[in-house]
Symmetry: C2
Subunit: 170 residues, 2 copies
């Protein structure tokens, strides 16, 4: 890791979130100091994903993880006091190194899933951009998601992913 990388990581690059008014859409853009292939792998390798996905205070337990076209996943985030938060989804498609398209649901809100398309784009010089477009079946669900604190959890997740990538283990 060179000095410039350290400075950028320490500077806390933030994800940009675009939520067009009145549309059931959220777009997230985040850059990483690693090639697209490594950022992609951190999203599909179960041993890596448990090390960064979610806020720092939560432990992640995978119950099902089949990241390929027609597969599905299920995981539980466990809080410090043992409270569990379950999530599941179905995998529409995976293009290795390039994109993942999957649904995402939260146990208490089974009627309000999102459909997320993540694209991994190489920027050269060992850097890449992640672009995630999430759509819902109505604007109210999108707005509730924005109010739910998803942004904080997401920023923390991507900071943890920065660290994992900098360590060179992912």
């Amino acid at each position: 890791m060179n000095t410039e990388t350290q400075a950028r990581t320490a500077g806390g690059r933030e994800a940009q979130i675009v939520a067009p008014p009145g549309q059931p859409v959220v777009e997230i853009i985040r850059e990483f100091e690693a090639p697209a292939e490594r950022v992609f792998r951190a999203h599909v390798d179960p041993e890596l994903v448990v090390q960064w996905l979610g806020p720092r205070r939560l432990r992640m337990r995978l119950e099902q993880w089949d990241m390929r076209r027609g597969g599905s996943y299920r995981y539980v985030h466990v809080d410090e006091d043992g409270t569990e938060y379950g999530f599941w989804g179905a995998v529409h498609d995976v293009q290795p190194g390039r994109s993942i398209t999957q649904t995402f649901g939260f146990d208490p809100e089974p009627d309000n899933p999102t459909f997320d398309k993540a694209e991994f784009i190489d920027l050269g010089d060992g850097r890449s951009r992640l672009r995630v477009v999430s759509v819902t079946h109505d604007v109210a669900t999108r707005d509730a998601m924005l109010r739910s604190g998803m942004e904080d959890g997401m920023q923390q997740s991507y900071e943890r992913l920065d660290e994992l990538l900098a360590e060179g283990t992912a």
Copy 2:
């Protein structure tokens, strides 16, 4: 089947399609002369679905059909001249008799799936309403879908489903 039912069926009830300008959303509303439970079953039972899904000129071959949370499906529509059109998707959730939430992709357009939520609503007197909300990751994909002739295929599908329900086999 009573006379009123015959008259309505012969009248060719059309699905209403709502496509709000500039939004990646299509909403479809269609009523059926059958309770929600039977219309739902015609969507999940593989022996029934092949009898109505798609335009009349196409034969439907199921290659995979697992309509439950985390399941997936794949089918091929075969034209009279043997041309094949492949479709696949992942099943986010199924609430028996009430809703199906699934992705939908067309082989030549793997990057442009839809995410469809179908709700089956009883109207009493043996009638029901199907409401399908389809969302895409961008408006261009939604607009291309509307231009693709999906509406014709859909109207024919639902007429075939009317017939199947009237026969009493579904």
